[in-house]
Point group: C2
Chain length 325, copies 2
Amino acid sequence: MLGISKSTVSRALAGRSDIHPETKKKILDLASQLQYEPNTLAINLKQQKTNTIGVIVPETINRFFARAVGGIQKQADMAGMNVMICQSNESYIAEKKNLHSLMSSRVDGIIVSISTETDRSDQFASLTEKGIPLVFFDRVFEDIVASQVVTNNYEIAMEGTEHLIQQGCKRIAFVTGPEHLFNSRARLNGYLDALRKHNLQVKDSYIVHSHYRSDKVEEYTRYLLNLPQRPDAIFAINDYAALEMIHIMKKNGLRIPQDVAVLGFNNENLCRFVEPSLSSIDHPAHDIGASAAEMLINHIRHHDMKPEKRIIKSSLIIRESSRVQ
Amino acid sequence: MLGISKSTVSRALAGRSDIHPETKKKILDLASQLQYEPNTLAINLKQQKTNTIGVIVPETINRFFARAVGGIQKQADMAGMNVMICQSNESYIAEKKNLHSLMSSRVDGIIVSISTETDRSDQFASLTEKGIPLVFFDRVFEDIVASQVVTNNYEIAMEGTEHLIQQGCKRIAFVTGPEHLFNSRARLNGYLDALRKHNLQVKDSYIVHSHYRSDKVEEYTRYLLNLPQRPDAIFAINDYAALEMIHIMKKNGLRIPQDVAVLGFNNENLCRFVEPSLSSIDHPAHDIGASAAEMLINHIRHHDMKPEKRIIKSSLIIRESSRVQ
DNA sequence: CCCGATCCCGGGAACGGTCTCGGAAAAATA
DNA sequence: TATTTTTCCGAGACCGTTCCCGGGATCGGG
């Protein structure tokens, strides 16, 4: 329309300097008048990058991941990047499909928190081979060389367990995730070492490996309550599970925390509003996500960066459900 | 490598018929051997479509939207489409930015649930002009001609209110969303008509317009409790708000439901586990999302479809918090 | 044996931009 | 005035596909 070549138009729109100010103005004016929008697809194809980061999380129904995704999106926003979110629904094959779809969408990098089913890392190895930056958070692999953001699982599980011990509890049950998940194991070790440190007997029957879904809570609660030596404290896998366990125990006439002290995980809002208020581990989900995104963006921009491991500190929040005295 | 033109390769990979089976096999074999992945960017550019649907929701921290997004993703998955999720964080300008970014990503269609701040629809009107299919769910506009999926807000608010009336409550407070949101108004009207039907006085001081965030709950709870004629029932905006309100009222020595009956909204899992268990409105989030996605996909595939309005029924779940007798 | 139909396949434009390169005009310098 | 430098712009290749079109080979019918 202006009798100007597309090269010049491209220069104007990209805001480059080798163009006459007057020509630039004419182009920009006409562009805004026509409501011209550059075709991102074409740009991405030419540039061989999409300016978007892919995310695979187990499920955003889980508030921890919803908050982490929030952190990722905020960080991406600040960097002018887009985010593509996939849910594995805690399924290994769905996770694999997600990965494939993100790769075929040519995302510039991927952030992953693996599903409970996932017990091998080969599908991610091929990513690093292809030079696609990869960052894991919270649920990570030990053996893969990739950047990761985790919390101090071991220490906080130890701290939580010691807190219960200090309240006088001697038979502390521990509900954690699947054994093959690194952070489940780390938490378990923290729990075990706390018991040993205080010369308490470790009983395997007090240890429950569950997945993070809610449909097994009733089952393992009944199991724990029917044990010959009923636990006098429970360190739960998350707050919702803790809440349901408390509900079941109350129905069975048990008092919380006098008969059974309970410690949750994630420090959801509801902890403050239930009765008794729920002690929990504050897990800085938003920060974890933001940190992972920050690392990934660095990897994307500087392809020679070495893998890095960041540890973000959780903290113990003590409320009524674990205050025995 | 095979001495075959790219046209033929394209034919083989696209699975078209005008190709010799033997040639096709050779190509497919080599492709899988080389782990060849077609470049989606190029395909999208050529086809002028991306096979992805964009979603804008207020925030996935809100479990209603997390579940709705789950429904959308499931439906998209079945149709072989991708999903791009954006969060407006209940902000009008963020929503506008999301919309812009989705459009520049050239999504084939968009599903929206508007933010609390959004009180005009012009930014969406331009979408329909450009022929991009658009479906609203839950939080919708009345005035815009577009497909939408909503629940029977009016009827269910009426039913909930009548339930409270039948329990003998006479001073029923109603907490709902901003006035400019259609479903807030629909719910309010259901509430008002229920009162009128049973010849109860409508008092404006019992009606609270809030947003869906949690940080105002304490404020309006105190307001309601300090009213000269304290309400004897509260119909809350969602379950988390109801939980917090119950917590505050208990601290003030009020008994639930004898002194104040409480009815929540969304029927979260926790409703069953709190004390007293929480009556609520079951809001079929997953179905709403799935239904919206189904409609959008239809619109994408058959561009001549007329806008359609679907209503999905919520249901009243009565538990202890509203059973007075 | 000839001719039209059918079956495969290759050439090349197109999608909508970016970017390199070269060259003309204008400005600066000799 | 002649030469060099700078400023600005256009031509055209390119990203990786799809798809239209045209043409050669094979086949069948008359």
